[in-house]
């Protein structure tokens, strides 16, 4: 596999064939050692040079002490999914250095902390020893700060080795630290010292190189959770209740920052929102359901374990028809182990989360842009459909740094759904809270504190008029209407996006953060195996008619997802014409790391028996 990568050239050929703007840098540090600033400065400075980048933080469930890796991929073609192979290793962590070096493909480069003496491990890599402690002692007299500043030195070294403009690094550093002149000065000193050391002591022997490009003009760097938080604010959220859980917490935390800045009433200095850190996820969703019932736009954000805890309320929202917005930033399974690793493992359980017959709307953002727009969609849909709506992001999308197009200001007003007022009441004559008067199975609801009539909200046992009922016919009638309401949902949720090729012989279905890897994987299949594919990107559940139509077009449709049990494929099997089931095949990725293009193209090639 290494032969397909130009970066894997031998030391000899590397000198003559530079690999420009196409490599992955991996920085191995110790968690809590303050490497984030250095990593983001490196990422941003390449981005500022016009080269498409993405940054992924592979971190442990730990505050300080365990190993952490940050990988930066630069790619002139704009591929921003994870690449499996590391081209340039920065080995700062004694604990993992040996394994990190041994796992490299031949011909790769390693910058390492000199005392680690990694050079002796292999003779097919290019090593650059750097005496970090010695250099840092020269730029930072305060021993306490050395540990933090030390990391800026590798940025300086890489600026020389990879050809990253020092001025761009300074600009990126200013972006990070602008308001702290002292820190700025200290870090700049370290950056320059690293650069100077490299210039004077290291001879470039590797192929990788950054050269200015024009492919990031006007773009932004953002994490999905930040984008979702912005979407919530512009959606006019007024009540937020949440409980801390990785990888979700950064969403409500970003939201707190935005709301404090933009949602404080100018005249009175008072808040147009309430944000509550609840005692647990059950209380968080309870507050959201209570607030939405009273007419607020309310949301919570959580991850799989929280979704499980919220399941009783999810059913109540479904049966009592109370709007709710829940972000599920998916991660690997329960308890300890891999809570800081990514997955798309909550698809099946969330689709039917709760007891009794329930079906839930799920939105499937695959980019920061969609985290933003779907956050807005989710409130409109929850209020329009009067039910719980999940936005299924994941750790990779939510917590990693992505390049994105700047967001556009919403041009549609809020859709607050069917809220009864006096005029509507007059028009309806008699009102029943759960009566389908419009044929779309969505009833009119009344809000406390308005002139509209009150009703008593209960779970499963009510008739059209919201009266208590345990009658079999009332229950069946209500349940059937709820099923029809789910059919209405199909017509208003975001439609899938089709990227088709007239010559395509197989189909690919994917969703969420797999998108970027699928795009690259399709190019690999076309260029390396001559296999044309058509791609349908799901953006919501329930599936609209486009999904079934797509599956009908191909004998084989590969469903790409980041879980073991082919959860989306299972949902497709449940919902599509049963005769289509045999066409569906799986490409699965579930090791806790973000999916990469090679995993997809390898799997499709193997199943298609191409070459």
């Amino acid at each position: 596999m290494s032969s397909t990568l130009p970066g894997a050239a031998t030391e000899e050929t590397a000198r003559v064939t530079p690999v420009v703007n196409d490599f992955t840098i991996q920085v191995a540090t110790v968690n809590g050692s303050g490497s984030q600033t250095a990593n983001l400065v490196l990422l941003r400075s390449i981005f500022q040079m016009g080269v498409p980048v993405s940054g992924k933080n592979l971190f442990p469930s730990n505050i300080a002490g365990l190993p952490t890796w940050f990988s930066i991929r630069a790619n002139h073609r704009g591929y921003i999914s994870r690449k499996r192979e590391v081209d340039f290793l920065v080995a700062m962590n004694a604990e993992t250095a040996r394994e990190d070096v041994l796992s490299l493909e031949p011909g790769r480069a390693v910058v390492y902390d000199e005392p680690l003496n990694l050079k002796s491990l292999r003779d097919d890599l290019i090593f650059y020893p750097v005496p970090f402690d010695k250099i840092v002692a020269g730029v930072c007299t305060d021993a306490k700060l050395r540990r933090l500043v030390r990391n800026m030195i590798y940025d300086g070294v890489l600026s020389h080795l990879l050809g990253v403009d020092l001025a761009q690094m300074e600009k990126a550093l200013f972006k990070q630290l602008g308001k702290k002149p002292k820190a700025m000065q200290l870090n700049m000193g370290a950056l320059e010292a690293g650069r100077k050391y490299a210039e004077e002591n290291l001879t470039i022997r590797h192929a990788y190189k950054v050269e200015p490009l024009n492919k990031t003009d006007g773009q932004i760097l953002i994490e999905g959770n930040q984008a979702a938080a912005m979407g919530c604010m512009f959606a006019g959220v007024t009540v937020v209740a949440w409980y801390p859980i990785t990888p979700s917490s950064s969403l409500p935390e970003a939201l707190i920052g935005y709301m404090r800045k933009y949602r404080i009433d100018k005249e009175t200095g008072k808040a147009t929102f309430a944000i509550v850190q609840a005692e647990d996820e059950i209380a968080a969703i309870g507050m959201v359901v209570g607030a939405s019932w009273a007419g607020a736009r309310a949301m919570t954000s959580t991850s799989g374990p929280g979704v499980s805890l919220m399941s009783e309320f999810a059913g109540l929202s479904y049966y009592a028809e109370v709007p709710a917005v829940v972000f599920d930033i998916q991660r690997v399974g329960p308890s300890t182990g891999l809570p800081t690793r990514t997955a798309q493992g909550d698809i099946l359980s969330t689709a039917v989360n709760s007891h009794g017959d329930t079906r839930h709307v799920m939105l499937l953002p695959s980019s920061p842009e969609e985290c933003y727009t779907m956050a807005m969609d989710s409130f409109d849909l929850a209020e329009r459909l009067q039910t719980i709506v999940y936005v299924m992001s994941d750790l990779d999308l939510g917590m990693n740094t992505w390049m994105a197009h700047p967001f556009t200001y919403p041009d549609k007003p809020f859709d607050r759904g069917k809220i009864l007022d006096e005029a509507k009441l007059k028009e309806l004559g008699t009102w029943g809270r759960y009566k389908d008067v419009d044929g779309d199975a969505i009833p009119w609801r009344s809000l406390p504190g308005t002139a509209a009539p009150a009703f008593f909200t209960r779970g499963s046992g009510h008739n059209d008029m919201a009266q208590y009922s345990e009658r079999a016919d009332d229950y069946v009638k209500n349940l059937d209407r709820l099923a029809r309401k789910f059919d209405t949902a199909k017509t208003i949720v975001p439609a899938p996006v089709l990227e088709s090729d007239a010559d395509a012989s197989v189909g690919i279905i994917a969703y969420g953060s797999s998108h970027y890897a699928v795009q690259e994987g399709r190019d690999q299949l076309r260029e390396e195996a001559g296999l044309e594919t058509a791609y349908l990107r799901l953006r919501a559940y329930p599936f609209g008619p486009e999904v079934e139509a797509f599956v009908r077009r191909f004998d084989r449709v590969y469903v790409v997802e980041q879980n073991r049990d082919a959860q989306m494929l299972s949902l497709l099997r449940l919902d599509l014409d049963p005769s289509l089931s045999v066409r569906l095949r799986s490409v699965l990725h579930y090791d806790g790391l973000p999916i990469d293009a090679r995993s997809i193209s390898d799997s499709v090639r193997a199943q298609e028996q191409v070459q």
Partner: protein, 350 residues
């Protein structure tokens, strides 16, 4: 809902200060057992809201699950009500009252709904001092599931099936005081006068009003050996003091003699008078309140009355510094920042 076929002439209808009849405060027909203490509590709630002249359209009712939690359907029909899920009513009430802090909230829970499955949410509701009247209809057992013990059942009491309760009870009043509730009272479903006074005072208070109302279960927990039987409570009720409540719209100068009463001024200008029986009882002192609860419990008695009140304590709505207008009804202009805000955010990320 009112009967329009009544023939004239009719005596003038009795109305409250809003001009509403008692009928406007009633609810649906109860489905609880005949003689259930919970029904008496519903009656007192109706009386209290009627007498205080609260517009029922300005009230939101909440409950969890259990016999107690059915009762909001039996009072204040014109109010919106939410029978939520077991033990989680506090969170639903919290969300709803943050969405519309101009409304008056009343929540009805039971001893199982509060003390067992709902203890976590109860704890945090008390901490937040959310403006909400929180009534525990406390019968020491699970009625709807046929008589199992709840966490307020007394040690040594025996269930119908012969099972003995061998764990100590949770004192929800002591817990509420400890946790930060600003209004803590205990009463008995059969004590019309005291319960009514407490409920009226609770309506005037802005903060969490935790009212534990002992309400014997006539079906599962009203037998000899149960400390929550009607007879037992009647015999062992240590009335803390005569509770008298005078709303802000009534003249307060007439019937109280200073010296024999403790006076508490509530936030809306209402007055709460506690006629002292116990020497030096001061309802604004936490230590005194806790000592009282522990001492009466040791004697196998229930102290009833106004146990603790602090009308000045900040409530959750104050703490969150919310705008005057209910969040639920803020127009889009106030909740969607302008394009400039988005441009600024985007610029910072370039």
């Amino acid at each position: 809902m009112s009967d329009t076929t009544t023939p004239a002439p009719v005596p003038p209808k009795k109305v409250n200060r809003l001009g509403l009849e008692m009928a406007s405060y009633r609810g649906g027909k109860t489905t609880l057992c005949a003689g259930c203490g919970h029904n008496a509590i519903s009656e007192r709630v109706i009386d209290a809201f009627y007498e205080m002249g609260v517009d029922p359209k300005r009230v939101m009712k909440f409950s969890g699950i259990g016999c107690s939690s059915k009762s909001p359907a039996y009072f204040l029909n014109p109010s919106h009500g939410f029978n939520s899920v077991h033990g989680r009513m506090p969170s639903v009430a919290t969300g709803a009252l943050l969405a519309n802090a101009s409304m008056l909230g009343i929540g009805v829970s039971g001893d199982g709904d509060t003390g067992a499955i709902g203890i976590g949410q109860f704890v945090h509701l008390m901490r937040r001092n959310l403006p909400l009247i929180y009534i525990i209809e406390d019968n020491g057992c699970y009625g709807l599931t046929k008589g199992q013990f709840s966490p307020t059942a007394d040690m040594g009491s025996k269930a119908k099936n012969g099972v003995m309760n061998d764990l100590p009870p949770i004192d929800t009043c002591a817990l509420a005081i400890e946790l930060g509730a600003s209004f803590v009272a205990r009463s008995f479903s059969g004590d019309k006068k005291q319960l009514l006074s407490i409920l009226k005072a609770a309506i005037a208070h802005r903060g969490t009003c935790m009212i534990d109302v002992i309400s014997p279960c006539v079906t599962f927990n009203d037998h000899e050996g149960s400390t929550k039987s009607y007879a037992y409570v009647k015999d062992h009720d240590e009335v803390l003091g005569e509770v008298n409540f005078v709303p802000f719209f009534e003249d307060i100068s007439v019937e109280y003699e200073p010296g024999s009463t403790t006076e508490v001024k509530l936030h809306d200008g209402s007055h709460l008078f506690l006629r002292k029986i116990a020497e030096d009882y001061n309802p604004s002192d936490k230590m005194t309140a806790l000592r009282l609860l522990h001492e009466t419990a040791r004697r196998g008695e229930f102290a009833t009355g106004m146990i603790y009140v602090d009308p000045e304590q900040d409530n959750f709505v104050d703490i969150l510094n919310l705008v005057e207008q209910p969040l639920a009804f803020l127009p889009q202009e106030r909740t969607r920042p302008g394009k400039q805000a988005l441009d600024e955010l985007m610029d910072a990320l370039r």
